[in-house]
Subunit: 474 residues, 2 copies
Amino acid sequence: MNLTPKSKNVSKWYNEVILKAELADYSPVKGCMVIRPDGYSIWENVQRIFDAEIKKAGVRNAYFPIFIPMSFLEKEKEHAKGFSPELAVVTKGGGEDLAEPLAVRPTSETIMYHQFSKWIQSYRDLPMKINQWNNVVRWEKRTYLFMRTTEFLWQEAHTAHATHKEAVEEAERALKSYIDLYKNHFAIYGIAGIKSKSEKFAGAEKTYTYEVLLPGGKALQAGTTHDLGQNFSKPFEVNFTDKNGKLDYVWQTSWGLSTRSIGGLILTHGDDNGLVIPPDLAYLQIVIVPVLSKSKEDTELISKSWEIKANLEKIYRVGLDERQEHTYGWKLNELELKGIPVRIELGKKEIEEQSATVYRRDLGTKEKVKFNNLEKYIEILLKDIQDGLFEKSREFTKANTHRVGAYDQFKEIMRTSRGFIEAFWCESEDCEMKIKEETKATTRCLPLDAKTEKGKCIYCGKESSRRWVFAQAY
Amino acid sequence: MNLTPKSKNVSKWYNEVILKAELADYSPVKGCMVIRPDGYSIWENVQRIFDAEIKKAGVRNAYFPIFIPMSFLEKEKEHAKGFSPELAVVTKGGGEDLAEPLAVRPTSETIMYHQFSKWIQSYRDLPMKINQWNNVVRWEKRTYLFMRTTEFLWQEAHTAHATHKEAVEEAERALKSYIDLYKNHFAIYGIAGIKSKSEKFAGAEKTYTYEVLLPGGKALQAGTTHDLGQNFSKPFEVNFTDKNGKLDYVWQTSWGLSTRSIGGLILTHGDDNGLVIPPDLAYLQIVIVPVLSKSKEDTELISKSWEIKANLEKIYRVGLDERQEHTYGWKLNELELKGIPVRIELGKKEIEEQSATVYRRDLGTKEKVKFNNLEKYIEILLKDIQDGLFEKSREFTKANTHRVGAYDQFKEIMRTSRGFIEAFWCESEDCEMKIKEETKATTRCLPLDAKTEKGKCIYCGKESSRRWVFAQAY
């Protein structure tokens, strides 16, 4: 397969493994990528799991136009400033020049809140909680598969509430749902916190984030939720009559999770041999591979394989590779590269012993398991893989999180291993900017569980009370 | 609610019922609409049902860029001619003029087949069957909610095969899956057939269609599948080495179903009182409405309502309307308008008699059902509603299908009631065009079960052997 080892060069490995394992491909459109079936199936699993969560929380799906009149984007000042350099603009439609150019949505606050203002009249219409699974476009010059592409897929939820308190609760609830998704399904550890003023979403009052540390020592903003205050409801005139007959503007939130998360997944769990996909998000959780010999014995092997498949697929996503045009060794390599969590090998010996050889991809270990014990064994194994991957991610993050008191040390870490750095910061934009210029590290977040302590800003030495997490962003 | 009766003015009723029942709304972007949660949930049900079918047939989901370089669209001549007048074109990205403008995809043949040519080398890579659920843009000046919008949602599947025979089988299998979807879930009758040369998809060898007759007497092309032959594989150089080592171009199909289908659903089943949604596609199949009096008795009513809900929602999608801010009468009107298939009314009397009043939306009839018989009753009722709606659709189509031998009669029908017209046609484009100019009727299809007979072309009188179906298209 000629895969560059991850341990040797992470970013080279990353591009290669995505292309070779057929998760995605470059496209002829600059900045855009193609998500191939094996990659898209991970997104489908994310959608299935998270869409159920969204609905439980009373959020309903809808669909809004991909085009946004330029004048809409300009209504909220910070929002306009944040997104205007990244826009793709339609200037011709149906063979004619358009009177007002249309932006391809970089996010949908403006087009949705225009509609909210028509739909919301009274407190009876609140809360309004609407989500869409869609594509958005933010112009990029250089593509980094999954992590940075001009077009990407995501869900963006937008809610409107009668009080600020309710909106904050919703933003925090949504953050928690992202944390649960990452921990329980992506098997990825991270730090939940609040963004600094300069790093928050363009137009938000406050941005909550789940920050993940990836191999190579850079941080991924893995999911964000925003308390929008009344920043959009005022220019878009989303107002309502409250229970006392008083007119007020609604309080809003928005929150999104994108296909970048798949980039984080690949980087976090993969190893020198290829992908390692956690069972919850794997297209196939188990693949059965009979050792075919093109002889009469194949019949029994194949029939046993189908029997095992039929049993297991009552609960799991199971594949069976009975192709004759590829060798047994080729198949094992492919499953290794594609990161299928569990492989069941079945040969003549296994039939004789009435047991299967069960291989787990994450540890690379094998065990013989009696046929009649297989279902129980797989149940425990898949849970163990899922938990083990999360534990490994947690340990990696802990091992690469540095509590630093001196700026020299800060710079040294950023020059070498990188990672999360916990340091006091005076919360001035000036220090934040200089640290970024000098080390590439940005403030990732103020952890939700940060204590108030006495300390000195890592840059200017001024008295500071809280340690922020710094890292270089993806 | 002041809804214009359907029986009085179908198209006025159609717009009003969509807006009032909150299925969709106009947007500030010309030609684009917003699909609201109650409308989108119908699409989600369609997706859930049809996505499972797609996967059973071995088709896998993927995602391709929304942007298509203009040069790609021009590679297949007929395709380019068909779509170029409808394009939205991005000419600016990231603040700069683009060297090559990008079309917003009107359909994805060209961008996908470019990729297919990279992925397909050998017969081992075939068949390749890929689908995407996405948004496409075809410029429209006038919006007709769901039926004609600049942006719409759909699925587009694209397959590549080693032989023409296999491709034809796939196009026919896909047509059958659309027919099943319409009959069994949309409860809509239609005629399956083949498109004439002028009406087929731009670039196809042959287009299969399912044509539905809607109230008002116009026809909806409800789902189409295309045998593309080698029309795209040649210009896009999608070739493969066959089992004998010979190089050949692949044989392709594409097939799509869009949110227009929801327009067909609304028009087919709705009545003077509002929507009528078939149980299979309804967001909620059953809504329980307790008759609240703001007294102590409410407690028992509400607790019984929740008990019934808990039982039914093991199998069905069930709502419970216990809002105090709306009157009982208001709630019944809303459920009527929204076309909820079954309503369960629960008042003091029902508790005394240990029975619920069950209302079916399609017939407007009520029945008292003992609590302990409710689950069994609902099971039979929902099936009866689903079947009854299909039967009604079938009867409507049969009653409005006219077998016509004289052009005067043809013209008279098109001037008055419209509908499907079965008539001999010599299959010359000239007659087809003139009939369209004079009557607005186009050839909808040659039914798959059309017999070879002796007859005379309805327009020119030349000897003809097959009756085509004509109608005015939506």
